[in-house]
């Protein structure tokens, strides 16, 4: 701390400390703690808040598991189903994303000339100047029953009747994968970039096949980048709202859509909070799991 102050001077150091503390305390810790507390309280009209009925309760978490008391089902199949579907789809999307981005990142970092790789980076970034909602609608146009892809396939005679990409959730998967591609590519790119090219040549010289070189040399070297990319993509995918709203099939629900409903349409903030906390918990567990699997420390992930 002393070192930090001496290095940056008192003015800048004070600014940093205040900015970081403000950001952490007011924008993250306090609202989250408030949400956590809210999730354990009954949903009361404003007048009754702080009154004798405002006690800590597990009712919202019970609701998530057992459903409403008036329903016949022993468990809340719908919400639990949506929850696990969201998580497993997010994992699936993360894996697809990794498989898709790894070759691109490797190509940019180690194969392409500096100019080509700059060009690639720019052409990856530019589409993201367009806002997420618009990008999702563009994909909808592409995948719709009367959409571009169907028209092309029908026109060339490859298929006889239109394929319902939306109902099959192909559009949703594509949209979610594409939405956070940069957050996968850049950590991977940074990690692979720092690998000494001689390592690749040495492996090749020793007789290693391309796949084995990746498996034994590149991937172990890039594991912090992989963990970092997977974590971010998973969290953002699981927490995405706009893309699922636009692209999911009518009978697919994303967990964030449920949260949104509780907060906004049903005006039940405490249940919304409980559902948010559930999602947050799973995300944190996922991060810890990634760190475990890739044997990396939190500092390496954030790098």
């Amino acid at each position: 701390m002393n070192y930090f102050f001496n290095k940056n001077g008192p003015l800048i150091s004070t600014y940093f400390v205040i900015a970081i503390v403000f950001w952490l305390v007011f924008l993250i810790i306090i609202p989250q703690l408030y949400m956590l507390d809210l999730s354990f309280r009954p949903n009361l009209p404003p007048l009754l808040r702080g009154g004798p009925d405002d006690v800590h309760t597990l009712t919202h978490y019970k609701y998530f598991i057992f459903g409403s008391e008036t329903s016949d089902d022993p468990y809340n199949y719908v919400d639990i189903g949506v929850f696990f579907n969201t998580i497993s789809t997010a994992i699936f999307v993360t894996i697809i994303n990794l498989c898709f981005c790894y070759p691109i990142a490797f190509y940019m970092a180690k194969v392409a000339s500096p100019n080509t790789s700059r060009l690639l980076i720019v052409s990856l970034i530019i589409p993201f100047w367009i806002n997420e909602l618009l990008r999702s609608f563009a994909l909808r146009i592409l995948f719709a029953g009367e959409g571009v892809i169907n028209n092309i396939l029908l026109g060339t005679g490859l298929i006889d009747s239109g394929i319902n990409f939306i109902a099959m959730d192909v559009a949703l998967y594509t949209g979610l994968t594409y939405a956070y591609i940069l957050l996968m590519i850049f950590p991977l790119y940074n990690a692979i970039e720092s690998l000494d090219k001689n390592q690749l040549e040495a492996a090749k010289d020793l007789g290693s096949s391309t796949i084995r070189t990746h498996w034994r040399i590149v991937i172990p070297h890039a594991k912090a980048g992989i963990a970092s990319g997977c974590t971010m993509v998973f969290m953002l995918t699981a927490g995405a709202l706009a893309t699922p709203v636009v692209l999911s099939s009518p009978n697919t629900y994303w967990f964030t859509q449920l949260i949104y409903q509780w907060f906004n349409m049903n005006d039940n903030w405490s249940r919304g909070s409980a559902y948010s906390i559930l999602l947050l918990t799973v995300s944190v567990v996922f991060v810890l799991l990634m760190m475990r699997i890739f044997k990396v420390k939190i500092g390496e992930i954030i790098r």
Binding site: D196, Q199, E201, A202, A203, D205, L206, G207, S209, P220
Partner: protein, 370 residues
């Protein structure tokens, strides 16, 4: 097993730039062969052409008599040691050494056995479980050698592997490398910009300049009979005397330079032929610092000249004495440290002497250092 390597008119171009130009050389099997040249002269480029990381733009690379065109680095009987070693930092020392066996599907126990054998060869017995970063510079060096030897290559290629080490370690590693080469008996192709390294370790050297081979030969031949002014000045130290031929008698040439007349041997053009000079030719006569002596009763040789002492430099075992004949001709010679130089005060004229047998005349050409 060991193989010979032949380069036939090999050229490598980057755009219109020739990094290697028409290089032809035959490296014998089991030989310790060095390419020696200043940095940027194309040594690494040649080595990459031999190992298969780049294809020559023209010419052929033959290993064991077989044309290597279209054969990748992982399929050639060569093994390359990189300038920065390129050890795998996330693997243990034993895994590094046995990597080439792992990729060939050799079982774990067998790999470990082979790694242990190689660790013994490089005098690192029992250190297989360490991580690379736990080793010292010299130990890493040896691990890189062991890793390259594990595939039992027929030719080992070494790209300035000692350049990162400090002087003492470098000298120790020279001896060690030479000993390892003798033990395994395979062809070593070594590249370096350090002439001391090349001369102490190699059977033969090839001196390179700007992508071309200037001279190939035994170390002492290259040192004693340089074929070009570049070789004369790049390999070891030399005093270039610019001058004109005034007479030729057999292989002895009389040269007039800076008001002195010297007699010297005509330099060689190839191993068997010497340069033919005629009167009036512009030439350079070379005489090495260790072949010049202060003239006295015991030391009277057939060439003599007078020069003024500028500085005396102490270099441990030697003393270097810098003198000038006139304002644009400087000379340097060296004497063992034990020799008394108290009479050589700065600014004093001294008479020096050298043998015509030690002086070599070559046509004018570019020098390594000006």
């Amino acid at each position: 097993m060991s193989a010979d390597v032949e380069l036939q008119n090999v050229s490598v171009t980057f755009g219109s730039f020739y990094a290697a130009k028409n290089v032809s050389v035959k490296i014998k099997e089991g030989e310790f062969f060095s390419f020696l040249g200043p940095s940027g002269c194309g040594k690494t480029t040649l080595l990459r052409a031999i190992s298969g990381f780049l294809d020559p733009s023209e010419g052929k690379v033959l290993i064991g008599g077989q044309d290597m065109a279209g054969i990748g680095p992982n399929k050639r009987p060569t093994s390359l040691i990189f300038q920065n070693l390129a050890l795998f930092p996330l693997m243990s020392v034993a895994d590094n050494i046995a990597f080439s066996l792992e990729v060939r599907g050799v079982g774990k126990a067998e790999r470990r056995k082979r790694a242990d054998e190689l660790l013994e060869l490089i005098a690192l017995t029992g250190q297989g479980d360490k991580k690379v970063h736990e080793l010292s510079g010299g130990q890493r060096q040896r691990v890189a050698i062991a890793r390259a030897l594990a595939i039992e290559p027929e030719v080992l290629l070494l790209d300035e592997p000692l350049s990162a080490l400090d002087l003492k370690l470098r000298q120790k590693m020279r001896t060690e490398l030479r000993a390892i080469q003798k033990r395994v008996g395979i062809t070593f192709i070594y590249i370096t910009h350090d002439q001391g390294e090349a001369l102490t370790m190699s059977d033969r050297v090839a001196v390179m300049n700007e992508g071309e081979l200037e001279q190939v030969g035994l170390c002492d031949d290259v040192y004693d009979f340089p074929h070009t002014p570049f070789v004369a000045t790049f390999v070891g130290e030399n005093n270039p005397f610019y001058g004109k031929v005034i007479s030729v008698e057999g292989d002895m040439v009389k040269v007039e330079s800076h008001g002195n007349i010297f007699s010297a041997k005509a330099g060689k053009i190839e191993d068997k032929h010497i340069h033919k000079f005629s009167n009036g030719d512009d030439v350079i006569m070379f005489i090495r610092p260790e072949s010049i002596f202060i003239k006295n009763e015991n030391n009277k040789l057939d060439n003599n000249f007078i020069a003024k002492v500028n500085t005396i430099e102490f270099e441990g075992n030697l003393k270097n004495i810098y003198l000038s004949i006139n304002s644009n001709m400087n000379v340097r010679f060296s004497v063992p440290n034990a020799v008394d130089t108290s009479e050589l005060s700065n600014g004093k004229d001294v008479e020096l002497t050298f043998s015509s047998q030690k002086a070599i005349v070559l046509p004018r050409g570019s020098l390594a250092v000006d």
